[in-house]
């Protein structure tokens, strides 16, 4: 079943065409890698899907429904949640509070509920959900620590925890392995697989080829804003056009 359909998406910034009529489809339950050399348009594609940009033309359909022109928060509510390049956390809050913010869909309350404490049950359910997510991601021991005090690997895990707390069905991960040592990378790969096994579809942008090849079921390769190739990691690895793009062909 197709969960995300990218249909002829073009994004222009003034005279610059960052994405040029790109189409691809993501199947429910897979780990999809979106790769390509620097400036290929991977992050731009992510921002278009998550609603931070609006495509100049083309359509993006999620579970059959167009999401073009929606605000980021409403797309998140639909079930598409992104993580950010570099580590974006609420540094001043504890691990627990960080994930609690993520529970927004479940825990949201209005002013009167807040003043009169009528939402206690819902907040308790949210707190339980936070512990469940932290347990799942192996962060439960650190829940009282400030986010800023965590080592890099745990910070990334926390970023994913925040996203998971919002109960997504499609998770967009923007360079989850950047700056990690091999050990941290292996741990993060395991976590990512675990997330997928819990029934969440994953699309990730990544430069770490070892991680991408080891993790993804299927790859979509962009170059200069255009779709260059698609296929399994093995197919892509042996694709002449991909090799040319990465090694700066013609040589």
């Amino acid at each position: 079943m197709t969960i995300l359909q990218i249909d002829q998406v073009t994004k222009q910034f003034g005279g610059l065409t960052a994405l040029d009529a790109v189409s691809f489809a993501v199947e429910a339950g897979e780990i999809r890698g979106l790769i390509g050399p620097n400036g290929a348009g991977k992050s731009t594609m992510f921002k278009n899907i998550a609603g931070f940009y609006t495509p100049t033309s083309g359509d993006i359909r999620y579970q059959g429904e167009s999401i073009v022109g929606r605000q980021p928060h409403s797309i998140a509510e639909q079930g598409i949640v992104r993580t950010f390049q570099e580590t974006t956390l609420f540094q001043e809050l504890t691990v627990f509070e960080n994930v609690l913010v993520g529970c927004h869909k479940r825990a949201r309350c209005n002013l009167f509920e807040a003043i009169f404490g009528l939402d206690r049950e819902r907040q308790q359910a949210a707190a339980d959900k936070v512990l469940e997510v932290l347990e799942f991601m192996g962060l439960v021991e650190r829940r009282q620590q400030l986010a800023a005090e965590l080592p890099l690997g745990s910070q990334r895990a926390l970023a994913i925890s925040i996203a998971l707390a919002s109960e997504p069905s499609l998770l967009l991960m923007d360079e989850p392995f950047a700056g990690m040592n091999p050990e941290e990378t292996n741990h993060m790969m395991e976590l990512t697989r675990k997330v997928r096994e819990s029934g969440i579809t994953i699309v990730l942008v990544e430069h770490d080829m070892k991680a991408v090849m080891g993790l993804c079921d299927y790859l979509t390769v962009l170059n200069f804003g255009q779709l260059l190739a698609e296929g399994t990691p093995d197919e892509v690895r042996n694709n002449d056009r991909v090799i040319e793009a990465y090694l700066g062909g013609g040589g």
Partner: protein, 325 residues
């Protein structure tokens, strides 16, 4: 655990008793001042709610004026008593804030600061230009406090108790809001709006909510003030007063609920204590402000945190009010 909560309860009872006895220890002039100080506590605390999302508006003083003028006009034209004018003062201020959200929250940071200032001045100039009904530069007068049976609230002591009750209730509600889910989301919008948005938080709505609720409470404060003072003029709510609000909040500290309250109390007491210095007063006041910002960049509230640490409790400097215990 029980010992610490017992100490807290004792502290609360002592503070309440102190607040109730306080006016009887003061002279008439100081009783007046005490009422205005109590009202200003509500002004800074409601302003804190607005700043929680990271947007510092310059319209808060004018919103207090909106509440004040609303109470005045309702009292004079419709002869409504204070029990009606106070909540309506808040509601009208909140309604105007709600309208202003649409242009103002298209802006952030400096642009928001300037935009909110301009919107405030526009409102204030209306009070000056439209002599009917606002009375122009001279403003309006003849507003009276309520009379319940034998108690005449024109006297400072009864009015102080009334003010204390209203402000106390408002502070309680503001405290509840800040320590609820909504408070957590307001913090998250301040620190990383895109991250909050990525998990489904409508950041626009929360910015607007903080602004509208903050305006409601400062509107109530405006109503309280005009019912005691009896007169209202546009200049009471000009840039000068707005700057004082900013100074109280910054000197007091804005990372904790009680920071701005400490700021307004300490600075008001200090200003009063150097009254005898006459011409030197503004210079000394200014010097102390600069010194306090230089040496206590996190505000007077950081002193409280340090004292608590010295006493061997409250080891965690961070506010952990949202964390599970």
């Amino acid at each position: 655990m029980t010992r610490s909560s017992g100490v807290k309860r004792l502290f609360a009872v002592a503070m309440l008793a102190g607040l109730l006895i306080l006016p009887h220890l003061l002279q008439f002039h100081h009783q007046d001042l005490l009422i205005f100080l109590t009202i200003n506590v509500l002004v800074v605390t409601s302003y804190r709610l607005v700043t929680l999302t990271g947007e510092w508006s310059l319209i808060h003083a004018v919103m207090m004026g909106v509440g004040g003028y609303t109470a005045t006009l309702l009292f004079k034209q419709f002869e409504l008593g204070m029990w009606f004018t106070l909540p309506l003062a808040g509601i009208v201020a909140a309604a105007i804030a709600a309208l202003l959200c649409f242009p103002l929250f298209r802006m952030t940071q400096f642009y928001f600061l300037i935009g909110s200032f301009a919107a405030g001045e526009a409102i204030r100039l209306c009070w000056i230009q439209f002599v009917d009904p606002f009375g122009g530069t001279g403003g309006l007068s003849g507003v009276e406090p309520p009379l319940i049976g034998e108690i005449d609230f024109l006297e400072p002591v009864p009015y102080y108790y009334l003010t204390l009750a209203v402000v106390g209730l408002c502070l309680y509600v503001l405290y509840r809001i800040e320590n609820s889910r909504i408070g957590l989301i307001l913090h998250s919008v301040h620190w990383k709006a895109p991250l909050a948005e990525s998990v489904g938080v409508d950041t626009w709505r929360y910015r607007a909510l903080a602004f509208i609720v903050g305006s409601f409470f400062v509107g109530v404060a405006g109503g309280l003030k005009v019912h005691y003072l009896g007169t209202i003029t546009p200049n009471q709510f000009g840039v000068g007063f707005m700057v004082f609000i900013l100074i109280w909040v910054i000197v007091g500290g804005y990372n904790r609920f009680y920071g701005p309250i400490i700021g307004v109390i300490v600075l008001t007491l200090f200003d009063e204590s150097i009254r005898s210095l006459e011409e030197l007063r503004p210079a000394i006041y200014g010097a102390v402000l600069i010194a306090s910002i230089l040496f206590l960049p996190n505000g007077l509230e950081s002193l409280v945190a340090r004292i608590r640490q010295l006493l061997g409790k409250g080891a965690a400097p961070a506010d952990t009010s949202f964390t599970d215990k």
